[in-house]
């Protein structure tokens, strides 16, 4: 590995969160974004090909070194680290609606789910996965919710474009089959 890839490795090791490309540029003003992308590529391949217990992932608009999934159980059993608490089905439903329709209000979420969602919204807000981004112009000026960077970190996504597109889902909102039934 060249010097820049080793500097990248050291920075990712030291940082407590994913580092974005523009943050990396502070490390070495001489290096361009392309240089850093090259270093990211080299470090990623180094981890993947040389038999490492960690991997370089693109997460929440930055880069982070994470342990490999294969070792999760052993690490957790030894209580060196713990997985975050899983979200309930209701919370995941609300998160799904907000992720695709943001910014959106409570009324729209409840209309789709057919069930009251105030408690779930509060829980997601407390966990920092969603935030209030404003108020709708509609009646009563209801609060509008959107996902946060922590949402991407929680799911291990680079950005919102990593969510499945509607045509990748098995149930897309297609019109009913032609008449005849």
């Amino acid at each position: 590995m060249d010097q820049r890839s080793r500097l990248l490795e050291a920075a990712l090791f030291a940082a407590p969160r994913p580092l974005a490309l523009d943050e990396l540029s502070v490390l070495d003003p001489e290096a361009t974004d392309a240089d850093w992308l090259g270093a990211v590529q080299e470090l990623r391949e180094h981890y993947d090909n040389e038999g490492h217990g960690v991997e370089l992932v693109e997460i929440a608009g930055g880069y982070q070194v994470l342990t490999r999934q294969a070792f999760a159980e052993a690490i957790e059993r030894a209580a060196f680290a713990a997985r975050p608490v899983r979200l309930s089905t209701a919370a995941l439903e609300v998160l799904a609606i907000i992720a695709y329709r943001q910014p959106t209000g409570r009324a729209e979420i409840e209309e789709i789910r057919g069930v009251s969602s105030a408690g779930v919204l509060r829980l997601l807000q407390e966990r920092g996965l969603i935030e209030v981004t404003g108020r709708s112009e509609g009646l009563g000026r209801p609060l509008l919710y959107a996902t946060t960077p922590q949402f991407l970190e929680y799911l291990g996504l680079g950005d919102l474009a990593d969510l499945p597109r509607s045509d990748e889902l098995s149930i897309a909102l297609t019109p009913p089959p032609a008449a005849g039934d």
């Binding site: 090791f13 997460i59 490999r68 999760a72 799904a96 799911l155 909102l173 009913p176």
Partner: protein, 248 residues
């Protein structure tokens, strides 16, 4: 009405609302579950059958007290009734009463699919650990200032000088009432044959002292215990023992 999904749930009486919430995240979820279990074509839902099963399940699970499930039950029954209405001629376009329900079911199913995807992504992320979080060190406090013992003592004196004298208790003079003024006048008359109005009041009389003394003097004068004299207008008033004083 056989093999309800609720049959595997705890006894109906114990199937509390909260427990049941974990089974289905809402009436649409329950409806989708029934449709999938019965392998029904979502575009041609046998609404009478599904409505009956829906009612039976929410009853068994104790969900028939939850407004959202009741609302869906009512909606299903209304659609069922609309389906029974005779259709007018084939030339008239027929609005399927199930259409809105199907649209909502599909929309909800899509949300469910995304929710499952999110769950899988979150589980995959949760199984990969980042480095343990090390909180940044707190800012070091500023060093204590350097000074000599003289400066310190000076500072202490300065602080002490600024402190007001402690007030332990403040005695508030009780205003002289008529009774007190009367007693004071009689005592003075006992010592001296005559004294002036100013002597009676003392150096700094309050308004109440003046008024009480005035009333007492007039009262004692009326009773003949003292007499008042003034040589000229606006000269000091002199108080003498009255004719009745010796006998008092």
């Amino acid at each position: 009405m056989t093999a309800l999904p609720g049959a595997t749930a705890p006894a109906p009486a114990d199937a509390g609302f909260v427990v049941s919430l974990d089974r289905y995240s809402g009436p649409l979820d329950l409806l989708l579950h029934l449709i999938r279990r019965e392998e029904i074509d979502i575009w041609d839902i046998p609404i009478a059958r599904i409505a009956d099963q829906f009612l039976a399940v929410i009853h068994v699970l104790g969900l028939d007290e939850a407004a959202e499930y009741l609302e869906m039950a009512a909606r299903l029954l209304r659609i069922k009734a609309q389906m029974l209405l005779p259709r007018r001629g084939d030339e008239e376009p027929w609005e399927d009463p199930r259409h809105e329900l199907v649209r909502r079911l599909l929309e909800y199913q899509q949300v469910r699919e995304i929710a499952d995807w999110l769950d899988a992504a979150a589980r995959s992320r949760a199984a990969r650990f980042a480095r343990g979080f090390v909180p940044p060190a707190p800012d070091t406090p500023p060093l204590p200032p350097e000074f000599s013992i003289e400066e310190l003592l000076q500072a202490v004196e300065h602080v002490l000088a600024m402190m007001p004298d402690p007030i332990i208790h403040r005695v508030v003079a009780r205003p002289l009432d008529v009774e007190g003024a009367t007693a004071r006048i009689l005592a003075l008359l006992g010592e001296r044959e005559a004294f002036s109005w100013r002597d009676l009041l003392g150096p700094a009389p309050s308004v109440v002292d003046v008024l009480s003394s005035l009333v007492a003097v007039l009262e004692l004068a009326r009773r003949g215990l003292l007499s008042l004299r003034q040589t000229r207008p606006f000269t000091p008033v002199v108080i003498d023992r009255g004719p009745a004083f010796a006998t008092a």
